[in-house]
C-alpha cells in the first residue's frame, strides 16, 4: 500500500456503505493505509447493522466473516466475552485494521523475539481502545495481543485484513517460541459454520 496523490476523506454512514466503499478502494492498484483507517473510524457503530454477525461463544472469542472483499481483503467481526483474549500473534505479512464496535479492547504490542527465542518477550506498549476507534498493525510494526479485560461487558470489533490470510504464528510470551496455527470462522455471512470451530487449534 502506498500513499496515492489524493487521499479521499470518506464517511461511511452504515455498515453496508462501509463495505461498498471498501470494495471501491480495494479495486484500485494502490490503497492508502491512512485512507482505510479513516474510513473505518468514520463509521459510527450501529448494533442493528451488525448484530446478525455477532455470535458469541462461551469459552473463547469468535471470528465471524462479514465480507470476503473479492479476494482482496477479509472483513470480519470478532466477539469477545468477558475475560476473553487472544494469544500474541503476527499478521502473516498482511495489513490489519481493528475497529471497536462495542465495549473496549486492550492491545499490547510486543517486539519480535530474537533469533534464539529464549527469553521473555519485550512489551512495547499497551493501550485500551474505545468504541469506534480503529487501530492498525502489520508485521513491521510488531506483534500484539488483544484482550477484553472487562469482567462485566462483552466486546465486539470489526477487522479488515488485506491480503486475506488463514494462518499465522502465535508466540509464547515467556520464551518467544512461535507456533503456526490455522484460523477458522465461527460463522460466515451470518451463518454458523457447522464444522470445526476452533480458533487457533492444531492442524485441521
Amino acid at each position: 500500500m502506498e500513499q496515492p496523490v489524493q487521499t479521499e476523506t470518506w464517511k461511511a454512514r452504515s455498515l453496508e456503505e462501509l463495505v461498498r466503499i471498501l470494495h471501491q478502494i480495494f479495486a484500485e492498484d494502490k490503497v492508502s493505509v491512512d485512507e482505510v483507517q479513516a474510513l473505518m473510524e468514520s463509521y459510527e457503530s450501529n448494533p442493528e447493522e451488525w448484530l446478525q454477525y455477532a455470535k458469541f461463544d462461551q469459552y473463547r472469542y469468535t471470528r465471524n466473516l462479514v465480507d470476503s472483499g473479492n479476494g482482496k481483503f477479509n472483513l470480519m467481526i470478532l466477539c469477545w466475552g468477558e475475560g476473553h483474549g487472544s494469544s500474541i500473534h503476527d499478521h502473516t505479512d498482511s495489513h490489519c485494521f481493528m475497529k471497536i464496535l462495542q465495549g473496549n479492547l486492550k492491545e499490547t504490542l510486543f517486539e519480535w523475539p530474537g533469533k534464539k527465542g529464549n527469553g521473555e518477550m519485550t512489551k512495547k506498549s499497551e493501550r485500551v481502545l474505545r468504541e469506534n476507534q480503529c487501530a492498525y498493525i502489520n508485521d513491521s510494526i510488531g506483534l500484539h495481543r488483544v484482550e477484553n479485560i472487562s469482567h462485566t461487558e462483552p466486546a465486539v470489533s470489526l477487522h479488515l485484513y488485506s491480503p486475506p490470510f488463514n494462518t499465522c504464528n502465535t508466540f509464547d510470551q515467556r520464551t518467544g517460541h512461535k507456533h503456526k496455527v490455522t484460523m477458522t470462522f465461527y460463522s460466515q455471512f451470518g451463518e454458523r459454520t457447522v464444522c470445526v470451530s476452533t480458533i487457533c487449534g492444531g492442524p485441521h
Binding site: Y59, H151, T152, D172, T175, G201
Partner: protein
C-alpha cells in the same frame, strides 16, 4: 425492585436490572415463580441486605438458571446465593471477593462460574465437587496455588487462570481430559528447576507407621492407643503410581517441567514419599534411567496432545 413487580408481571422469566444503582434486591424477587435469568451487573449490591431473606424457600431457588452479579461490591459470596439449587450460570466477576466458600459445592447444577477480577487468594478443594462445571474463570485474582482436587472437575472444558500468583501447577492438572482452553499468562511460573532443599526427614513415628502399612503388619484397636490407631488411618499413598509406599506428614515436593510439543514448558509439582522414591518424574540431578525419562515423556506427550491450546496462553 419496584413494588408490585411480581403482581404485574407474574410470568416474568428474564429480568435485567443492570446499571440501575440497585443496592438491595428486595422481596419482590421471592414472588416471581418463573424467573430463570436475573442480570444485575454494575450496581451497588454487596451489603448485608443485597439478597432478600427466604431466598432458599422461594420458587426462585428452583427456577433460577442464570445469575449475573458482576461489577458489584460483594466482598463475600452471599450465603443465600448458595441456596439457588437450580443455578447453571453464576457470574461474580469484578467484585471484591477474597475467597470462595466451600459451600459452593451446594450449587450442583453449576456449569459456568465466572469469578475473574476479584481478590481471591485460594481455591477450596470443594470447588471440585461440581460435576457439571464446564467453564471456570479465575483470572485476575491473587491465587497462589491450585488444589490438586481440581482435576476431579471431569466436565471442565475451559479454565482461565491468567494474571494470578501461580508459581507452579499440580501435576494432576494433566488429568483434565476434556480441557480445551487453559490460560496461564501473567503468572510467575518458575522457569528453572527447583529442588526442595528443605526436606524434613520423617520422624520415628512416621517411619514406624510406614513400615506397619507397607508390610501389612496386623493390628487391632486393642493393640494400640487410640491416637496411634487414628494416626495409622491417615496414611496417604505415594502419588507416584510406580511406588507402593505411603507417607503421613513427611513428603518431598519436586517440580518437574513437562514439555508440550517441545515448545512450552509447564512446571508441575509432584509429591513423593521420599527423595529416593523412584518416580518417572525423578529429578535430573539423580541418576535417572533413560527408560523412566522416556516414560515421562510418553505420558506428557499424550497429555500435551490433549492440551495443545495451552500453548497459546
Amino acid at each position: 425492585l419496584p413494588a408490585g413487580l411480581s403482581q404485574w408481571f407474574p410470568a416474568l422469566e428474564v429480568l435485567d436490572v443492570s446499571g440501575t444503582g440497585l443496592a438491595e434486591m428486595g422481596t419482590e424477587l421471592l414472588s416471581l415463580p418463573c424467573l430463570h435469568t436475573l442480570l444485575a451487573k454494575n450496581n451497588r449490591l454487596g451489603g448485608p441486605g443485597s439478597l432478600p431473606k427466604g431466598l432458599g424457600q422461594a420458587p426462585l431457588a428452583r427456577s433460577l438458571r442464570v445469575l449475573n452479579l458482576s461489577g458489584n461490591r460483594f466482598s463475600e459470596v452471599p450465603p443465600a446465593l448458595l441456596q439457588l439449587r437450580g443455578l447453571r450460570s453464576l457470574s461474580l466477576g469484578g467484585n471484591r471477593l477474597h475467597g470462595i466458600p466451600p459451600d459452593i459445592q451446594e450449587l450442583q447444577s453449576l456449569e459456568f462460574l465466572y469469578l475473574g477480577g476479584n481478590f481471591i487468594t485460594a481455591i477450596p478443594p470443594e470447588l471440585a465437587k461440581l460435576p457439571s462445571l464446564r467453564y471456570l474463570v479465575l483470572c485476575d485474582n491473587k491465587i497462589q496455588s491450585i488444589p490438586p482436587q481440581l482435576a476431579q472437575l471431569h466436565s471442565l472444558r475451559s479454565l482461565s487462570l491468567h494474571n494470578n500468583l501461580l508459581t507452579y501447577l499440580p501435576r494432576e492438572i494433566l488429568n483434565l481430559v476434556h480441557l480445551e482452553e487453559l490460560s496461564l499468562r501473567g503468572n510467575p511460573l518458575v522457569v528453572r528447576f527447583v529442588r526442595d532443599l528443605t526436606y524434613n526427614p520423617p520422624s520415628l513415628q512416621e517411619l514406624a507407621g510406614r513400615t506397619v502399612k507397607t508390610r501389612n503388619v496386623p493390628y487391632a484397636p486393642s493393640d494400640l492407643p487410640d491416637s496411634l490407631v487414628r494416626y495409622l488411618s491417615l496414611a496417604s499413598n505415594c502419588p507416584n503410581p510406580k511406588c507402593g509406599g505411603v507417607y503421613f506428614d513427611s513428603c518431598v515436593r519436586q517440580i518437574k517441567f513437562v514439555d508440550f510439543c517441545g515448545k512450552y514448558r509447564l512446571p508441575l509439582m509432584h509429591y513423593l514419599c521420599s527423595p529416593e522414591c523412584s518416580s518417572p518424574y525423578s529429578s535430573a540431578s539423580q541418576s535417572s534411567t533413560s527408560q523412566s525419562e522416556s516414560d515421562s515423556e510418553d505420558e506428557a506427550s499424550v497429555a500435551a496432545h490433549r492440551m495443545q491450546k495451552v500453548l497459546l496462553g
